[in-house]
Structures are given as structure tokens and as C-alpha cells.
């Protein structure tokens, strides 16, 4: 029943979607934006569907965003975390998956520390699997909400110049952005210390800009990645202070930009490390619109994977309140 949706069975990464599928999700998200603006934020599109949010890693933004998306579509949801569940008793992912399957759930949203965990799960259960971030691999709904936010701001993705700044090596957000942006025709550059750029990253269709000053000269938008504080202990950078000095996105640096740059950040931010507070809170930041769009994009993904027809999305969005 689920395999024949417009997106296939699972959403594990933007690498595996066609440009048309990505555009379909973004277009489907448009009517869902409006649902969240209503006094009664609910449509019946996923009534009777059961969804498990399986979060093996800590998450605030993504988990809550998915939960709101599910609830606003009237799905029944259960949240399972790593702690206090059978996972903390040493249950393997495959056993967890089989037990969920046995309960006849419709969808699983999974966040996991291991790259490939969402695909692993998707290959082993019939339910739809949505990747809410797997290790350093992909975070497709984050990539989609970034695309939607850029499209809102510029009216297009094709031809945009987007620089992804920071710890690309460990970033699933970076990978999903690279796939999504390049598939929709944007030019993508990565910028950061070479110790935090993945091997052969140019082969993914991006250019490397070694200095942040040059990235600011080049780009229409910067997607500033979170610098995990443990990267210093890992020996990838000398110190957070030095990182801010050399790669930080600061007002002074932005003042030299030839045009107004749009600033994205997937959060949570380390203010004063990868991004200065006055930039994060400044007029060109779309960091909070990103969060708002996150709910709409996730509603679109859930709706499409549940077999919802793209043509009905507007109807579902405008459906009766209750």
C-alpha cells in the first residue's frame, strides 16, 4: 500500500530523490504552511495513521517539529527515546524494528547516531521510514526546509550561490543541502578549515572556498553549520576562539559583502563561535523562518509518504477545521 507513493517508500536522503520529487515536496509544503497559521491547527489528512518517533539521539527542534507536523495532520504518535527504552537494555536496531513492525505502525521517524540507520530500518520493515538525521549521512527534512526558506526568500533555487560554512565533515545537514541545492540548480560551495571538509567533496558537485571572506564575496546565502564543541578535543581545530577568528560569520565580515547575504543556520547555534549574535539576530537571518518552514516541510513529507496525492494537498490544507 505504501511503496507506490510519489516519493517511494522511505525518505532516507535527498541524494536518492529526483529534482521533481524535491520540487513536489516543496510545492506540497506551501498549502501546509497556512495550516500552522490557523487558530485551530489541524487537518484530517493522516487520521488513523500511527507514527513512531524513534529518537536514539537527543533532539529538540527536529523531534518537536516532526511531532507538531504529525499532530497537525491528525496522526496518532508515540515517542521513543534511547534512554529508558529497550534500546538502553542493549536491544539491536533490527530487533527494535521488528517489534515496531509487529505493532502494525504506519510510519517511523528515526534519528540515529549511525550513518545508514534509516536505510537499514527501511530495508527491514514495511512501514514508511523517514530519516530525521542519521550520523554524518543525511538530514533530508532539514535540507528541504532550507530549500523552502531559500525559495521563499529568493523566489527560486536555480542559479543561487550558496556557501555551506563550517564542519562539513561531520555534518548531515551539509550533505542533504549539497544534494538538494545542486539537484535544483544552485551553485554550492563549501567553506571551512580543510580538516573539517570531507575527502573528495568536490566530486559531489561543489567547489571549495578556503576562506570565509571569499565565500562572503561569492555567495547569495550562507548556511552556517554548527561547530560541535567536541571537535576541538578531536584535534580538528586548535580552539573555538581561533575558529571564530578565522571562520566565524561576523558583522564585520558581512559588512564587506557586495550584496545582502541571507544567513541560515540549522541550529542549535553556538553564538560567538561559528556565528556572532548580531548576525544570528540580524535582519538577514532566516533562522526562525527555517524553523517555521520545518513543520510545513515535514507535513508535506508525511502526507506524501502516506500516499497523499499532490493534487489533494491544497484541498487537505484547506480542509475543514475541527
Amino acid at each position: 500500500m505504501t511503496a507506490g507513493t510519489a516519493l517511494g517508500k522511505d525518505l532516507t536522503g535527498l541524494e536518492y530523490l529526483s529534482p521533481d520529487q524535491i520540487r513536489l515536496i516543496l510545492d506540497t509544503a506551501e498549502p501546509f504552511k497556512e495550516v500552522s497559521e490557523r487558530p485551530i491547527k489541524k487537518v484530517p489528512a493522516l487520521r488513523g495513521k500511527t507514527i513512531v518517533n524513534l529518537f536514539f539521539e537527543a533532539s529538540t527542534r527536529t523531534r518537536i517539529s516532526f511531532e507538531f507536523a504529525e499532530k497537525r495532520l491528525s496522526a496518532d504518535t508515540v515517542n521513543v527515546g534511547g534512554q529508558g527504552s529497550s534500546v538502553s537494555k542493549g536491544e539491536t536496531l533490527v530487533d527494535t524494528a521488528k517489534n515496531l513492525e509487529a505493532m502494525r505502525i504506519d510510519m517511523v521517524v528515526i534519528r540515529h547516531g549511525a550513518s545508514g540507520a534509516a536505510q537499514f530500518l527501511g530495508q527491514r520493515i514495511r512501514s514508511n521510514v523517514i530519516n530525521a538525521g542519521d550520523g554524518k549521512h543525511e538530514h533530508p527534512t532539514q535540507g528541504l526546509l532550507d530549500l523552502l526558506t531559500l525559495r521563499d526568500k529568493f523566489g527560486r533555487i536555480a542559479g543561487l550561490k550558496v556557501a555551506i560554512v563550517g564542519d562539513v565533515l561531520h555534518s548531515r545537514v551539509a550533505r542533504s543541502n549539497i544534494w538538494g541545492l545542486t539537484k535544483l540548480g544552485a551553485e554550492v560551495a563549501v567553506c571551512g578549515p580543510a580538516s573539517l571538509l570531507p575527502r573528495n567533496v568536490q566530486e559531489l558537485g561543489v567547489t571549495i572556498i578556503p576562506r570565509i571572506e571569499d565565500a562572503i564575496q561569492w555567495a547569495d546565502a550562507l548556511n552556517v553549520l554548527r561547530l560541535q564543541l567536541e571537535r576541538m578535543q578531536g584535534g580538528f581545530i586548535p580552539s573555538l576562539r581561533e575558529y571564530n577568528r578565522v571562520f566565524g560569520v561576523t558583522t564585520e565580515r558581512l559588512a564587506k559583502a557586495p550584496r545582502d547575504l541571507v544567513i541560515l543556520h540549522p541550529g542549535p547555534m553556538n553564538r560567538g563561535v561559528e556565528i556572532d549574535s548580531d548576525v544570528a539576530d540580524g535582519p538577514h537571518s532566516v533562522i526562525l523562518p527555517q524553523v517555521t518552514n520545518g513543520v510545513a516541510v515535514r507535513m508535506a513529507v508525511l502526507y506524501l509518504l502516506a500516499g497523499g496525492s499532490p493534487d489533494w494537498a491544497s484541498a487537505a490544507g484547506k480542509g475543514e477545521d475541527h
Binding site: 539491536t92 545508514g116 566530486e203
Partner: protein, 427 residues
Amino acid sequence: MSGILIRGGRVIDPARKIDEPADVYLLEGKVEGVGRNLGTPAGAMVVDASRQVVAPGLIDVHVHLREPGQEDLETVATGAMAAAAGGFSAVCAMPNTDPVCDNQGVVGFVKAQAQRAGKARVYPIGAISLGQKGQQLAEFGELVGAGAVAVSDDGRPVVSSHLMRTALEYARTFGIPVADHCEDPTLAGGAMHEGVVSTRLGLKGIPSAAEEIMVARDLLLAELTGGHIHLCHMSTRGSVDLIRRAKERGVRVTAEACPHHFSLTHEACEGYDTNAKMNPPLREAEDREAIRQGLKDGTIDVIATDHAPHHYDAKEREFDDAPNGIIGLETALGLAITELVTTKVLPLPELVARMSTIPAKIFGLPGGTLAPGAPADVVVFDPAVEWTVRPQEFFSRSRNTPFAGRRLTGRASVTIVRGQVVFQRPD
């Protein structure tokens, strides 16, 4: 005891540069004679080898048999049976068992288990360091006295250059090779080869340099000491270059390559297939090509499997958490013929040399030839038969192979060890 007459095959004995149709007669555990139309001696069992190759039994200098300690994965008996089914008459068992094979007790136990099994011969390899901890040298004299044929801390690199130097010097006393698993642990520690595929999959990569740094070090230490370094499972083009140059200088180095490294690339890890997870990892197409060229020009001396059994549920998990290694004994010959002989990298006699004659020579083992008086260790294989890899039919206790479903050319039909048929494939 009556003999075995292997009739009508293509006899390949690289040690004597023989490649011709002939019969082979085995008597009382030895090769009695090789020649045309030997007739049928009274009471001899006849093996029809028409359209087949008759060669000295294959010898694998690098397997993990998991016994003692992890008998649920493999035992000496199941491993020796898998070896026989793959055409191997002898294998060398790495010492990373539990307990570690760092004393005569474990060496003797492995030998006793092999004798009890009565399949392929099993030669234990002793540990370089006690407990493979990389600190104190194991007692090589005791290990060799009990039957060890080499020393290695395989599974782990020898991190201390001083310890490796000492091992190479001390091993000279006994004339045994020191086999090293080349990996700089401060640079490795990833789940697959570092390259565009690891970048896409978001997996931590192991750069080729992690292997090459240790290869370079070991070559320098072999040069310093005059000891015999044997480099295990070479996987990178840089390693092949380093070895080639060292051999030109006369360094006492021998090297092995595994079938998976001349057959597959890191792209086999796509989809997070844990059966493609191994250490050293599958590398790039250029590396695979360099390994083939290294085998062709002799830079790489031998083919060894690094047969590494794992339980299916250990592999049925997240890529990061799955153990390294694949089984190889029952696919090695087919992969070698398919990937090296049919592609004209190696002529068939040269392949037999790399899988039998040269392994015997560099590890100082009996066999590797069909010269009269040599041990009656023989493989009869069909170099043209096509077959499909079905892990469920393996004799190994484990099933972890990335080659399931692959069509291969060439497979052992009969394996004879000490003049006894230890494996005969049903028609």
C-alpha cells in the same frame, strides 16, 4: 595403503615449470610419479581429471579460524573443511584467538584440533607479542618448537617500531617471517576507505596513508635488520609502489593480496552493506588495478584470503558497529580465476604459483609442488565451470561474504591431503 591415480588432467606444477596433460600417482602420502599413461596400479583409486587442472594443493597463509574462543563463528574443523572445499590443502591460522596463540599450549591445541579434523593442514601462526598487546615479545623459540610457522599480531598493527625491529631481528634466529597488519591506528579508526563514497555515506574513512605509513616503516625496519617482513592484505596503490621499490633494493619483503581487494572497490559499501566492511577496507578502482598489476609483476607474491568469519547477526547492524572481515576460503579460487585469469592478468600456472608454490616457499611449508616425493597434497579443479556463490551451501560456519549471488568461473572438484581425499564435490 593403496594409492590414488589422478588420470587425464592438465597437470600444472609451477615449481618444475610443468603444464601438460599427465596422470599423477599418489602413494603412501607422497607423490609417487607424474607422467603420461601411468596405467592403473593395482588397487589404486582412480580420480578422473579430464578437462580439469591437477595442481599442488592451494595454500592460504592468512586465515582466522576463531578456535579457541569463538567456536560459534568457526572452528579449526569447520575452517579446515571450508579450506578443503575451496581447494586448499593447507592454511595458516592467525593467532588472534581467545586465548591468544602466544604460547605452545595454544599452538599445540590448534594443531591437535586440525589433526582430529583430518581435512586441510592447519599451521598455527604465533603472536609477535604476548596477548597481542604490543609490549613484550612472545617466546618465538617455544612457538616454533610447538609448530608455529610464522609470527604475527594480525588484527592489530605492531605500533611500536622498536618491538617490530626486535621481532624482525629475533625471528631471524628461527628463519620465520614476521607478518604485519599494516595500519597506523592514530590515522585509521574508520569504517571504510576514505574517499568519495565515505564522504557520501557519511562514514568515517580510513585513508590509504594509514596503511602506507606502516608499510614504509616495516620496509625500513626489514632493511635495517635483514629480517623477513611479510606484509598482510595489501590494499593500496601506494603500498604496491613502496614494496616494488623495496624489492628493487633487495629488502627481504614478501606481500599478500586478498581476493576482495583485487575484485571489489569501496563502492561495494553502497547501501551500507556490512558484508563489504573489512580492514583494510575496499579501496578505489586505481588501487584494485595496482593490486592486480602488483600480482602480475610479482611485487605481490601471494594471494591469501584473510578468511574472517563473523556471526550473521554481528553483521546485521549499523555499519559503524558491524565487525570487520569476510570469509574467503570457498570463493578464493573462483574469484582468482574470474578476476585474474579470465582477464589475462595472470596465466593459470602463475595463479597456481601464487596460491600454492610461492606460499609454501615463503612460509617454509611442505607442499606447493607435485615433484616425486613431495607430500600428496593435491587439488583438482575445473577452471571453466561456472557456478553461483550460495553462502548457505558453505562448509564454513559463517556466511559473511559480499559475493553472495555472484557468478564465478572455476571451482575445486577434489582436494587431497596426505594422500587422502578430504573433499570431493558431488556431481
